[in-house]
Amino acid sequence: MTAIVEVENLVKRFNEDVLAVDGVSFTVEEGEIFGFLGPNGAGKSTTINMLTTLLRPTSGKASIAGLDIMTQQDEVRRVIGLVPQDLTVDDELSGRENMYLQADLYDVPRDEARKSIEDLLEVVDLQDAADRLVKTYSGGMRKRLELAEGLIHHPRILFLDEPTLGLDIQTRAAIWDYIKDLKAKHNITVFLTTHYLEEADGLCDRIGIIDHGKIVALDTPATLKRSVGGDVLTIGVRSEEDLTDLISSRPGIISVRKEDGVYRAKAVHGEAATPEVLKAIWEKGIAVTSVELSRPTLDQAFLEYTGRSLRDAEQSGSFDKAAAARAMRRRR
């Protein structure tokens, strides 16, 4: 695998005192789906805007497909596609006209454009609505059109800034399918930002958790989840006898707690530890009434790395920082 995005110590400072991105470094491998996960105002969009040449970094270096984002902007623009957070399709044009306009902007030859536009419209299920004005579209349809537009010039990497923000669950699931399809069919690299944990978990090969402009963790979703602790095994038994020691003596069990008549055991690998524990209880002649194995969620990992302070208030200026500080004090 080769790196398609290389970022080194990238910094973006707005008006002296707001440090939006504080020296991030990472690489994205060609062909992977890479997610930036972080609370509001963490610096996700700012990073995307710098990588897509919309914003000039204050300092640091970044390259896409070996092209420098500061000195080779035009070349960078040819190899990237961007689906921005705001809906930027043109309301007063039809879906198909939007696609053709986009193709013209990227110098896609007419014949080639005609073919890929029909293909892409089919991929995002918009053939039937293609000749309607976009102002009659729903939010999900606009987003799908936006996604198709981002692909018209066959970019090597597609940037998706909060691709499912504000969409209903069905549309969100559909968008995820499109993204997975893209990766499977075209081996396109996808860089996305999100603050939906299940999105990052289900979609991304690797996740960078970003907070206060810094990357606080970067790994596969599975490893990130494992890093905050093991699986939780919950067992109910029909017995007054205390089984705490018995359970904790089994291999792979980290700790056991008795709560409300059930035992909660933490295990490194839940699937391996469960039969061991059940066997031990069974051999004592005690009946097991319920078993549940739950995996740690990315939510836990996320909160572990980013803390629980309120974020919405923090992103714009010092006044709001004061408000957030007050909110934190109240909670203590």
Partner: protein
């Protein structure tokens, strides 16, 4: 690059002609201006008082047979100004709705963004000018109205010459207002700037009133207003004994410089004005 400019120009024009009200306004606005303003200000009548030497009106008003004819020519130039002043409006909207960002991440030269707006505005201005011209002529055949009286022998060369000068005027004004729109952040500021320069530009010119009758300080400014250059050039083509303010060459070169300088300014500043820091 030309292809991309044309694609965006087409987009602008689609926005315009798909709104039926705008088409209606384009036609009705000149009717109102020419019909009311043009007919009401019958200044020529004042010169017909007993004891006035004959031909005095023609002498003061560039050889026009009546005030309506004088004004109709000026109105062609004013209509260009009025069409062009909202030239950059779509940039302000595109900035607000994020469409501008889409253009900025695409590999088009930055100059394409203003130039496409300028092209589409110039096309609209020229359509408007044809309508104004046709209505002014048509008034000749409406009983009770004064129409545009052109000199004998006003032919195809004069028509093309007139439209060429109006074209240059449109390029200049469209570039000016597009550059302003690139530089301001929001529409309130843009409206403010447009209002500030729009009426002074119209009144401090020979478009609606001869500069010869203005006080010296105003005359000095008004004679070099691009609207004056266009109106003066057009009247020399339209009327006999037009008593020119400038020579025809001065007007043409002046308009060439005006349009050339402002469209270059628009392209050259677009790179800086469209970059985010």
């Amino acid at each position: 690059m030309l292809w991309q400019t044309l694609a965006l120009t087409k987009r602008e024009l689609k926005h315009w002609y798909r709104v039926k009200v705008q088409i209606f306004m384009t036609i009705i606005q000149p009717v109102v201006w020419l019909g009311l303003f043009g007919q009401a200000f019958n200044i020529g009548q004042l010169f017909n008082a007993p004891g006035m030497p004959p031909g005095l009106f023609q002498q003061a008003f560039s050889g026009a047979p009546n005030y309506f004819s004088f004004m109709a020519i000026g109105m062609l130039a004013v209509n260009v100004l009025f069409t062009c002043m909202f030239s950059g409006m779509s940039i302000v909207w595109d900035r607000r709705f994020g469409f501008l960002n889409k253009l900025k991440v695409s590999p088009i030269p930055r100059g394409v963004i203003p130039v496409s707006r300028i092209f589409s505005t110039v096309i609209r201005a020229m359509i408007q000018v044809v309508i104004v011209f046709a209505i002014a002529i048509a008034f000749n055949y409406v009983p009770g109205l004064t129409g545009l009286g052109l000199k004998e022998g006003f032919g195809i060369v004069e028509v093309l010459g007139s439209f060429a000068m109006l074209f240059l005027l449109a390029v200049g004004f469209a570039s000016l207002f597009t550059t302003i729109a690139l530089a301001v952040e929001n529409q309130e500021t843009l409206f403010g700037v447009i209002n500030l320069i729009n009426l002074p530009l119209m009144f401090a010119s020979a478009a609606l009133f001869p500069t010869a009758l203005m006080p010296d300080w105003l005359k000095g400014v008004a004679e070099y207003n691009p609207l004056t250059l266009a109106a003066d050039g057009l009247r020399q083509l339209a009327f006999v004994d037009a008593a020119p303010i400038h020579s025809m060459w001065f007007n043409i070169i002046g308009l060439l410089l005006f349009s050339g300088a402002l469209i270059s300014l628009s392209v050259l500043t677009s790179r800086r004005l469209l970059s985010n820091r």
